[in-house]
Symmetry: D2
């Protein structure tokens, strides 16, 4: 094995990917949510399903929660349940989009009482963090307006800054705020945090514990996402990814399914800027739904796709790349990158899994396990988890 492959194996062995609990409930489009037998009915079952993904891939040891979707009476018990399953609790997401009070905004609302309600919701989230050992408070602000003139864009920024300040003040010294941006949806004229620039400006105003979340599905058409990765790393503020795929809007498709080359280019910047290593401060999270396909296999596929892109990025001959770049060899430099991309990394990942005592094909191993059939059989009655839950 070449040195490059050996180093790649070592790096891959340290990689972890965080799963979102909502991926194990039902989700869909505004037109229809297609359910499936066996879908989890509560946070405990979601964790059980997530643990299956970790069991077969070996790289998905954390699960992020959404509050209030994942409300339970006893978070110590939930965390213990997770630990029993071999996983831990990751980021806590403070959902701000399903309360009737938030029709015209939450942290940006013109009415101080509504903003107070939305701020207080974060106090509850921070409590969950203390109870579960989570250190990342993830804030995706769904606020925005649908019509020009509907509200004062500047005033909304000022109110947002004030609300975020109050939430930031709640954080413990080891906690971070992860602030996400989104180009559009659920509002369609102006989102209040539509781009990385806005998110970063708020983080800079807040302090060192505030970092930006990059959701790969939240950009304008044609946006060069790996460039944003570089900018945020350069500013020391890339806190996390929300990985998914898109062709059009925030499609939330399986990671790497729409444009595997883009995923590779992103991981190339991660590797090239030394941000893959544990301790880099970047949390690699999935954030994608499965409306028409089974959920656990879908998450396994997404995890495997991140691994493949990472492996290819690790196989880039960076010495040759730097030489070609320095000498202005446009085609040569591009060729170094493409050589790594053209490599079939499935044997390398099979080896990684073997070394860990895992099946070389997580997708097939899960399919053979009978788990899917069992949950379909056993999870009868109750209400399947979903966005409305």
């Amino acid at each position: 094995m070449t040195d490059l492959r050996t180093a790649a194996l070592d790096a891959l062995a340290t990689q972890t990917i965080e799963l979102p609990s909502w991926a194990f409930g039902n989700s869909g489009t505004r037109f229809k949510v297609f359910g499936r037998p066996g879908v989890a009915r509560d946070p405990y079952e979601k964790l059980e399903d997530a643990a299956q993904v970790h069991r077969y891939t070996g790289v998905a040891p954390r699960v992020s929660l959404h509050i209030p979707w994942d409300l339970v009476d006893d978070y110590g018990k939930l965390a213990a349940h997770a630990a029993d399953l071999g996983v831990g609790i990751g980021a806590i997401n403070s959902n701000l989009f399903q309360d009737d009070a938030y029709r015209l905004g939450s942290l940006t609302h013109a009415d101080p009482a509504v903003r107070r309600r939305a701020i207080d919701h974060h106090a509850q989230c921070v409590e969950v963090m203390h109870a579960t050992g989570s250190t990342d408070l993830k804030v995706w602000l769904p606020d925005g307006t649908n019509y020009p003139g509907q509200d004062d864009l500047r005033a909304r920024q000022d109110r947002l800054a004030d609300s975020l300040q109050r939430i930031y003040a709640m954080l413990g010294p080891d906690m971070r705020m992860l602030l996400e941006y989104k180009f559009f949806e659920p509002y369609f004229y102006a989102m209040d945090i539509p781009d990385w620039g806005t998110s970063l400006l708020h983080c800079l105003a807040l302090g060192d514990q505030a970092t930006v979340v990059l959701d790969t599905g939240h950009h304008a058409p044609g946006t060069n996402i790996e460039f944003i990765v570089v900018q945020l790393l350069r500013a020391g503020r890339l806190g996390a990814f929300d990985f998914n795929s898109r062709n059009y809007a925030d499609d939330d498709l399986i990671v790497g399914s729409a444009d595997p080359f883009q995923l590779f280019r992103i991981m190339n910047e991660i590797v090239g800027n030394d941000a893959l290593r544990p301790g880099s401060g970047v949390n690699f999270m999935l954030d994608q739904c499965h409306n028409i396909e089974p959920k656990i296999p879908g998450q396994i596929r997404s995890v495997m796709n991140v691994q493949e892109a990472t492996a290819k990025a690790l196989l880039i001959d960076r010495t040759a790349l730097a030489e070609a770049q320095q000498s202005g060899d446009v085609l040569g430099a591009n060729a170094v990158l493409m050589d790594a991309y053209g490599t079939d990394v499935r044997p390398l990942l099979a080896l990684l899994r073997e070394q860990r005592g895992l099946d070389t094909d997580p997708y097939a191993a899960y399919a053979r396990s009978g788990y899917q059939e069992r949950i379909a059989r056993e999870r009868v009655g109750g209400q399947q988890a979903g966005w409305g839950a």
Copy 2:
């Protein structure tokens, strides 16, 4: 009054705009549907609300229905109810997106039994047409795929062509099929009718009674919609508009709210190609939701915006325009268009309303009428209509 204004008034007096019944129920995004007091609970109440829009604008005498959302036991009774309210039944929409069987497609599904189910649903719709006097069967095909390889794109087209043929054969001699296209959503890799070209090809294969529906929110970024209007008129196949506004996806915002100049340019082509007159075969329909604003006032605003764009298009000095175009006077020709666009047509529309005995400001008149307060008070209990209903 100039001759141009006189002619404009005459043309405006003949214009009609069709309302969609679903606009009077709740709708929203996949994240949240915000309800409101007084929202209609059944097709009868939807018609009552739609009739209010007609009462104050005078130009909205038809309401299109969606099957199965608007299922009732007795369509004769529903049509009579409409007639009592001063409105008629417009197009019948054959919803194909909320049946669990349609997860992987309806008219394009690989399984002939599923296709048969979807075809049979149109027989039911044609029955409703006979019972209500509707002559337009509107087919928006929500079918598509989310992942490359998921299904065979060519086979889906062939199955679609066959399914449409069977539906087309159900039409009476005075009925039309209106076939809509959509760029994306609810599927995110390949829609089966994603553009006007695909819709038109199927219509050409079907026969003269098949025409294309242009939904203004269903295009790729940057698409020149008025060019498509011209193409479809030139081919004699523009059957209808679904008017709404978009900035990003299929935002379904109030007509003319995102880009009033685009709406004007569309109406310019309609007027310039003599397609405004009754009998032109073009049905001017609204198709837009109101997630955060009251529904009846929203529809009134959309109707008024279509009227304003039409009025401006009618005020274009087409003799001067043709002269400037013929002489290659680029800035001069553009100026003729912009002169009409820069005109304040609200006084002209006020006059139109006065001549019909209407209040000059439909929006204000409705607000003063007390209807909104009454339905909020009286419509208690039951289930508000919505996309799930």
Copy 3:
């Protein structure tokens, strides 16, 4: 006259718009540059043509230069020529895109000698500023890469930061750096300053004299430009506009011709955030070409379109707007904005011109003046100015 109209007239009387010298030379697409009789052949003639725009509109008293396109031996003489014509010298643009050395970058180039050359070019520009009284050094960085891997994105940012620092150090105490961003072109994989966030980060690192230029044609499809205006004003870093229109790429069409409503929304934020007044620090510049239409009339039209959008923005009833916004009246707030947009402001602008002793129709007055015929007759021989000059 209402108070709103009186105040609007006062504000319009203080508005100035800066013209770009290149607009009076030939320009075009990569496919073809169409020339015209009478086009200016040197910077002196460009100033003469620009002065015509000011003569008839009364609001275009400054002309920005591009170095090296506008290289002359004696800038004192050029400035005096401008003064004789009633105009002044505005921003100095440091063109970085036509030197063979810059094939792979200028301020970001891997080779320090090339960067030095590009930095030194700015010393020359600052000299021109001193000689002409210009206070704005405008830097549009055309650098970027065409292929993934071609160069190291992070290293390019670091080199850019260093280069900008050296240029910034050349500025006199009353000078500003205006740093422009562009989504794409002339490079097509990654521009080195592709968005407002990147530009602002560099400005923040440089110091208070560095501000961002917003070119209305330099964004991804669907970008909400007025939101960026708000962000940059909130950060105190909106230095200038480059106004033009686009439907697809950086089309450089007549300002307001593609989306007049967008121009109005931008001016709404300018007015609403008190940035229209002289002294606000925002320089309102045009930046657009005329490949198929005559140049001076085209600039007059662009200037008039900015004035119309400004006038409409000044007519917004901001008290009513704020009330509707505060009360959550979505449709009402939008209606306040649209009422101003629907107003025909041409009579108000005619009055403004009358008060200044100008013809009420600058476009027609210029056409009648015979200037165009005279330059077509007299400017024979020599080489017309253009992008290659």
Copy 4:
């Protein structure tokens, strides 16, 4: 070797790719054309350079010409020169964008004399076809408008239809018209053939010898190009590809460099619909420029990238794919496709080249050949070919 690989090798052995002569001259952006030592100065030298691409790849035996760029006195001599070099003449492109008369259009111009001029230009092209043995007349219509109202969109379509009819009538019985569409550029409001639907409608009106050219860089953001491939194949009207890469506009980058997965998906539909075989009627042409990299190596890279995408498409297990599709196994069907895409096909292509007596790495073999150094040394004086030539 598996049966799939054997069959793939056989199919790859029959594949041919057509090169554009302009790729061997200088090209660039409107901002700058960067030249290089050794660039061809006339059509003869362009053919010599193109022959190098064929020499090392073995799959590029034809060169398309552009008239008037490639005007020579004796086309029999040029064709003989090509034959001596081992290549043939492919399509003849009728450039319509560099004549001053065409400022406002060519085949669509309001003035019949200008249209006549443009039509007559095609008679010249057909003569070249007869003289060179070319059978494909490629018409890319660069016509369009920049401003709403500038010209009558409908009248332009009618004039276009008439002009095309007259050109079509010039074709010999074995000749085809290839009609290309383009989303935007060089006009920025409305192109006269902006999409495949418009192109196809004109082809259907013309007759069986008229087919559509799909340039992969000529679509709106997000357009699913392989879907269009399917539609055109289904209609029997896909005449040719113009292959290149784009991220933003018509970037003309190296084929497969921006989105190799898209290229694979396109070739998947070609293979799956049996359109790869010689005789399918689809001409696989390159159409891309190299502003910053050396030209011959760039073309070699583009050719190799098409080969790799084709090889991967040929390795898809279509039996397994069809089974998964039929059974509604969304993830399974996608996985079959991705398995082929994840395969490293460079060894297979090396084998293909070995079987033909070629170097396994065309790019490296050309670099070692000394040709580049020789032309740089020998081609001194004269004027390098380019878009202005």
